[in-house]
């Protein structure tokens, strides 16, 4: 098997790194280029960077920043935020970005997702799916545009798979930024539904959380957010990354 992967999932807002809690209250972290230089030295397996301003404010992709970022990034890089056309995919790949992350586009323009997967290979198209529990405790798809999503949770997973994406990142909105651990049950359900690789995201607070999600659910990849940018919960900023051999023992 390819090796299990652990990756920081970073959020960009107006050229700055931020960190949210349950998708709210973005707090300033620092300069993205400095961060990526540190992650190179820490030997992170992969990096996901999501521009939350590009999606929300309907802004275009900050290609200038991404060019500088990609030039310092010596590991596979996935980017999401404001991607709207096949031409956007092309431009991102030209900068040296490995995978394009799509979220709202899955609903807004599914044909673009399909076309990009066909044209560039589906390993380069990463679907990001955000899931939130309803008041009654049911899993529901979280929409960034406040638009009603017509799918049930399971129906949406099937729908996304039908667009031929190569990989799925599942983020638990309830866990995101809380340090309380991944939603293991959610990841297990999705893993049983799909054949493509899954990245678990949202809630990681300890190295044990990473071990648990990678080994109790048998998925290939785990994303970390707060743990990669803060010293501890409610403590100051620190760009950091756990040592691979402290988490992954069996390779």
């Amino acid at each position: 098997m390819a090796l299990k992967r652990i990756m920081p999932c970073l959020l960009l807002q107006d050229k700055r790194l931020v960190k949210t809690v349950q998708f709210k209250n973005p707090a300033y972290i620092g300069d993205p280029i400095n961060a990526v230089k540190i992650y190179n030295d820490k030997e992170v397996d992969e990096l996901v960077i999501l521009d939350i301003s590009a999606t929300k404010l309907n802004k275009s992709i900050d290609f200038d920043l991404l060019k500088d970022f990609a030039a310092e990034c010596f590991m596979p890089l996935a980017y999401g935020g404001g991607v709207r056309s096949v031409d956007d995919f092309q431009k991102l790949f030209t900068l040296g970005i490995e995978k394009v992350v799509v979220n709202s586009l899955l609903i807004d323009k599914p044909d673009i997702v399909k076309e990009a997967a066909e044209k560039y290979g589906n390993q380069s198209v990463l679907a990001s799916i955000d899931i939130k529990k309803s008041i009654s405790g049911e899993y529901e798809v979280f929409s960034h545009s406040k638009r009603e999503i017509q799918f049930s949770f399971r129906g949406y997973i099937d729908y996304v798979i039908s667009l031929n994406v190569g990989e799925i990142m599942i983020t638990s909105v309830d866990q995101e930024g809380t340090w309380n651990g991944y939603d293991t049950e959610l990841i297990k359900i999705v893993n049983d539904l799909v054949d493509v690789p899954i990245i678990a995201n949202g809630g990681c607070g300890t190295q044990q959380d990473i071990r648990d999600i990678l080994y109790k659910t048998d998925i290939q990849a785990a994303a970390i957010g707060s743990m990669a940018v803060y010293q501890k919960k409610d403590m100051g900023v620190l760009i950091r990354f756990p040592k691979r051999n402290q988490i992954i023992k069996d390779e």
Binding site: R5, D45, F74, M75, G96, V196, P197, Q220
Partner: protein, 202 residues
């Protein structure tokens, strides 16, 4: 001067960026055969389908100059990913003839249940022969792979590294001055930097 061959396939700046990062600045990207004549070292990258790759090399009229540099002048020559596969006789992926610098075929993965194609992600390599260059200094060296086809050499002596993904395959090959790597050193952190540094010193 190290030349990176631009034949219209994939992203080339990552390789140049990594060279820059490790302090090697005499690197140029070109698609001009008249420039390539001057190369001290050549890198042939590439992603995508085999036939498309060979057709692009023909369209850019690069095959003669590449043959001359690799086989006659014997400059250090590194093929990465599709660039490695193009150095074989041909691929199960297409009908075009390859450059045939290696007695090798490019084959489609046939994998045990549970293994996905493409082979995407990090994996280890195991050095197969004692060579002066491309030492893997630590068995925990890992590299980033993305590929659906793999190279199989006829002769063991051409195999540099092996990697296990369902079955063993030849993840790097070498014949004199010509080297092929299935993985992407330019995306493989310090491990890839070490490989490119070693290539630059050949």
């Amino acid at each position: 001067m190290i030349y990176i061959v631009d034949y219209g396939l994939g992203n080339l700046s990552s390789i140049k960026n990594m060279f820059k990062h490790i302090g090697i600045r005499d690197v140029k990207i070109t698609s001009d055969k008249n420039e390539l004549v001057k190369a001290d070292k050549i890198i042939l990258p590439g992603v995508g389908a085999f036939d498309n790759g060979m057709q692009h090399l023909k369209e850019y009229d690069l095959i003669d100059v590449l043959n001359k540099k690799a086989l006659v002048e014997k400059v250090p020559f590194l093929g990465i990913c599709l660039g490695m596969q193009l150095m074989t006789r041909g691929s199960e992926e297409g009908k075009e003839k390859g450059l045939a610098w290696f007695e090798a075929e490019t084959k489609k993965f046939e994998l045990p249940k549970g293994y996905k194609v493409p082979h995407m992600g990090w994996n280890y390599v195991k050095a197969k022969k004692n060579i002066k260059s491309f030492l893997i200094r630590d068995i925990k060296y890992r590299f980033y792979f993305v590929h659906s086809y793999y190279v199989q050499c006829d002769k063991d002596e051409d195999v540099l590294f092996e990697t296990e993904y369902g079955n063993k395959f030849h993840s790097a090959i070498q014949k004199d001055n010509i080297i092929g790597m299935q993985f992407h050193p330019e995306k493989s952190l310090n491990f890839g930097m070490d490989i490119l540094q070693q290539f630059a010193k050949l």
